[in-house]
């Protein structure tokens, strides 16, 4: 410990930073020895500490698969369930360094049911190590893994043909696998592919050149990783930065903060803000609290402009030559990540970079068979499904195809009720038709039409179980209002299904569309100055929320017609509950299809305590 004085941290950090951190993902399943290969990388690069090694030695006797030798997979399988079952379930991030580079490894599970985990790991990776068991060759999962990483934008692949020790280090086997693999990924657009024969267990060609494969003249795995050139020169491109945060230090200061996505910006340069299209000059650039003359891709910068302009989180600052596309309709590749299936037409929250908007899936183009690449027809997506869809968002946003920008070409969808991340998407291309259909302005507005009828138009939305009394109450409200000269119309669930919605059934998907159409019609009626009463079971909160979002505050009155399922079943005026119980009627709300009661309705009437007349009075009072 006495020779320490020579060490200079600055030089060390400069050297390691110059090569850049390489983020890579490993794909394969338990049998391919994926965790063992990573364990070997960590061990041989001396990134495993003595206490960790002795801990896995202890665990090896309990969970290990290698007898007396420590099971290297235990270095990476962090969760108890993973060690017990001997599989990787979740994405784990590992860190190690050589004297050339620093590494972040995403270790992800390979089974089909964990596709979303692999996509997560791949979303930030520059390179993928695809593992193949030399004894088995190319499997269905090999193409699946390759297609997923290609879809997520990974450009570089290492084909690690593992367990060479179990095929007597045969050159022929290695060559055959390599040839087959290259043929299978022809369409996937990788810019580099390197095949390396290895043994994770014995260490051949991982860190140390194998003595058992004299016929192989290529690099070891670590030699390749240390030298592969992954960084295209992002700082040479035209400048672009998405604003993450507006720093209002005091009344006079406004700094616009974000991470530079592409290019270099020099003080005094002219830029354009999207979507406002305002052009301005850069007055000051800050890196932290230091003033600098220029910033480049990858830096977290704060920009101050010449004049005071209105810029919000999610807006994009770019050089004049490189404005992003502005659109509210686009085609995207989608990976469904939620246990509950997609509902086309349902409204979701879309987060793209730092921008948040409402979105819905307007069309499913196809579902992709990720193993073969073929396109299939479908009505919705289930967990781990991947396919192409059209998406419409509530306002025009800055976007780019994913192939041009990971930052504003990628997005997630969030369920409005459960708050779960239900999908990850990548923009394929923008749909131009949105720019060709403009809203026709009509001279006479809603205000005049309401005034003409001496009323304020509203939408009264009755929700509740079948047989709760919605139609009865709607009828009484209609009569009461009409008798005092109001102009009212009822949209009844059953009646609308005879005409407008005759093509829809009772599956969850069709119910969503049913409610969407009626919401839009109700909106037109309110625009026409009418009081419209919608009497619909409308079982899902998301769709009622969507309906509400179409109206101005105060114009949408949600009425919960609250009758217990037992009481509804007892009444059973239409005999439907009896049929549903016998199994003659499928997807019946309250029996085999869920009803989600409103959380905070404007009016809540309990029909088991009030007469229909009294319920109607409560509603009329709220309206007047």
């Amino acid at each position: 410990m006495s020779a320490i004085s020579e060490f200079n941290p600055s030089e060390y950090f400069k050297k390691v930073n110059a090569a850049g951190t390489l983020r890579f993902i490993t794909c394969g399943s338990v049998d391919d020895g994926k965790s063992t290969v990573i364990g070997r990388l960590l061990l041989d690069s001396k990134n495993v500490f003595e206490d960790q090694l002795s801990a896995i030695q202890m665990e090896s006797t309990r969970y290990g698969t290698q007898g007396e030798t420590p099971d290297l997979a235990l270095l990476v399988d962090g969760l108890q369930a993973e060690r017990e079952q001997g599989i990787t379930i979740d994405v784990a991030y590992r860190y190690f360094s050589t004297d050339k580079r620093r590494y972040i490894v995403a270790d992800t599970p390979g089974h089909k049911q964990y596709t979303r985990n692999m996509a997560t790991g791949a979303s930030t990776a520059d390179l993928a190590v695809i593992l193949i068991d030399a004894r088995k060759g190319i499997l269905e999962q090999t193409s699946r893994h390759s297609r997923i990483v290609s879809m997520m934008g990974v450009k570089h692949v290492v084909l690690a043909v593992n367990k060479m020790d179990l095929v007597e280090y045969s050159e022929n086997i290695f060559l055959e696998i390599t040839t087959n693999y290259l043929a299978s990924i022809e369409e996937m657009g990788f810019s580099s592919v390197e095949a390396i024969p290895v043994s994770g267990l014995k260490g051949d060609n991982i860190f140390v050149e194998s003595e058992n494969m004299a016929w192989y003249e290529g690099p070891t795995l670590i030699e390749h990783l240390d030298t592969v050139d992954i960084h295209s020169d992002e700082s040479a491109l035209p400048f672009r930065m998405q604003v993450q945060w507006v720093n209002r230090l005091d009344a006079d200061f406004r700094g616009f903060c974000g991470v530079v996505d592409k290019g270099t910006l020099v003080k005094g340069e002219e830029v354009v803000i999207s979507p406002s299209s305002i052009q301005t000059k850069v007055k000051t650039i800050f890196l932290g609290d230091k003033e600098v003359d220029e910033v480049s891709a990858g830096s977290a910068a704060q920009l101050v402009f010449d004049e005071e302009i209105d810029i919000s989180r999610g807006d994009v600052v770019s050089s004049l030559a490189n404005r992003p596309i502005l659109s509210d309709q686009f085609c995207a590749k989608l990976l469904w990540t939620d246990d509950k299936p997609m509902q086309p037409g349902r409204q979701y929250k879309l987060k793209l970079g730092y921008k948040e908007v409402k979105a819905s899936i307007t069309e499913i183009k196809y579902l992709e068979d990720v193993s073969s690449g073929s396109q299939l027809a479908t009505k919705n997506f289930q967990l781990n499904d991947i396919g192409m869809v059209n998406i419409s968002v509530s306002e025009k946003i800055n976007i780019e195809p994913y192939s041009n920008s990971r930052q504003i070409g990628s997005f997630i969808l969030v369920d409005l009720v459960s708050n779960q991340t239900v999908a990850a998407g990548m923009v394929e291309h923008v749909l131009r038709r949105s720019t060709n259909i403009h809203w026709q302005r009509i001279a006479i507005g809603r205000g005049f039409r309401s005034l003409q009828k001496s009323q304020t138009s509203k939408c009264v939305w009755l929700t509740g179980l079948s047989g709760a009394g919605k139609s009865t109450i709607a009828n009484i409200v209609d009569q009461k209002l009409s008798s005092i000269g109001k102009h009212v119309y009822i949209l009844d669930g059953d009646n609308v299904r005879h005409g407008l919605n005759r093509d829809l059934g009772f599956t969850e998907t069709d119910r969503v569309e049913n409610v969407r159409r009626v919401s839009e019609v109700a909106k037109l009626f309110v625009d026409a100055g009418l009081i419209v009463i919608v009497s619909f079971i409308s079982p899902f909160r998301s769709e009622r929320k969507l309906a509400r979002s179409l109206f101005d505050d105060g114009d949408f009155i949600e009425v919960f017609v609250d009758t217990s399922i037992d009481e509804c079943e007892k009444r059973d005026i239409k005999g439907l509950y009896a049929k549903a119980r016998q199994g003659d009627l499928l997807n019946f709300t309250g029996i085999d299809s869920p009803y989600e009661p409103p959380v905070a309705p404007e009016v809540h009437v309990k029909t088991e305590f009030l007469s229909a007349e009294e319920c109607a009075d409560t509603i009329v009072e709220t309206l007047m």
Partner: protein, 189 residues
């Protein structure tokens, strides 16, 4: 003790977001934790039910009763931390630097004897060794390591050459296999 005190403070404050400095390179179960890590109303972590975290897009929408533990330094390593301290000249508590200090050797760990509350076990005697702490947790559950690194340059060199992990001195991690995961499920950081 730490878990209970933390939970009480969180319940009192009703916080939506708690920022912390945990890193994925510290421990195996932390390696699987998200940057935005969701906790249920009793502060428990469910490692099997984590939201996918793609690109740098974070879903921060919480349900009633839920809270988020946010770990902005998730992807930093122990060396990265020292690099940053070095570049930015950050002032540190002296315990991170080596100095001759009174310690007791217990179960292969060096526990510092810093005041008269120290509960000696039978046969334990105080030794004066040059030690430092790589990690500071609660006393007396964090052990020191023997070291000559009394400057930041030496600390960085020692960290790069270290043979033991940073949390080697955290006795709390090694109660049993999966010990940290179990504590995290119960609400520990």
């Amino acid at each position: 003790m730490k878990t209970q005190a933390l939970k009480q403070a969180l319940d009192n404050g009703q916080y939506d977001v708690i920022l912390a400095g945990a890193r994925r390179d510290e421990e195996k179960s932390r390696a699987k934790e998200r940057i935005f890590s969701f906790r249920n109303s009793s502060h428990g972590w469910d490692p099997k039910n984590q939201r996918p975290e793609l690109w740098n897009i974070f879903n921060t929408d919480i349900n009633p009763g839920e809270s988020i533990r946010v770990f902005p330094l998730s992807n930093w390593t122990e060396v990265d931390i020292w690099h940053y301290i070095y570049e930015e000249n950050i002032e540190l508590v002296p315990l991170y630097f080596a100095k001759v200090r009174p310690v007791v050797e217990r179960d292969g760990q060096l526990i510092m004897v810093d005041d008269d509350r120290f509960p000696f076990r039978k046969g334990e005697t105080v030794k004066h060794l040059k030690v430092r702490f790589r990690t500071l947790g609660c006393w007396p559950l964090t052990a020191a390591v023997e070291s000559d690194a009394d400057t930041i340059e030496k600390v960085i060199e020692e960290t790069l050459a270290a043979k033991g992990s940073e949390r080697e001195g955290r006795l709390i991690d090694s109660d049993s296999i999966g010990s940290m995961e179990k504590k995290k499920r119960e609400g520990y950081f």
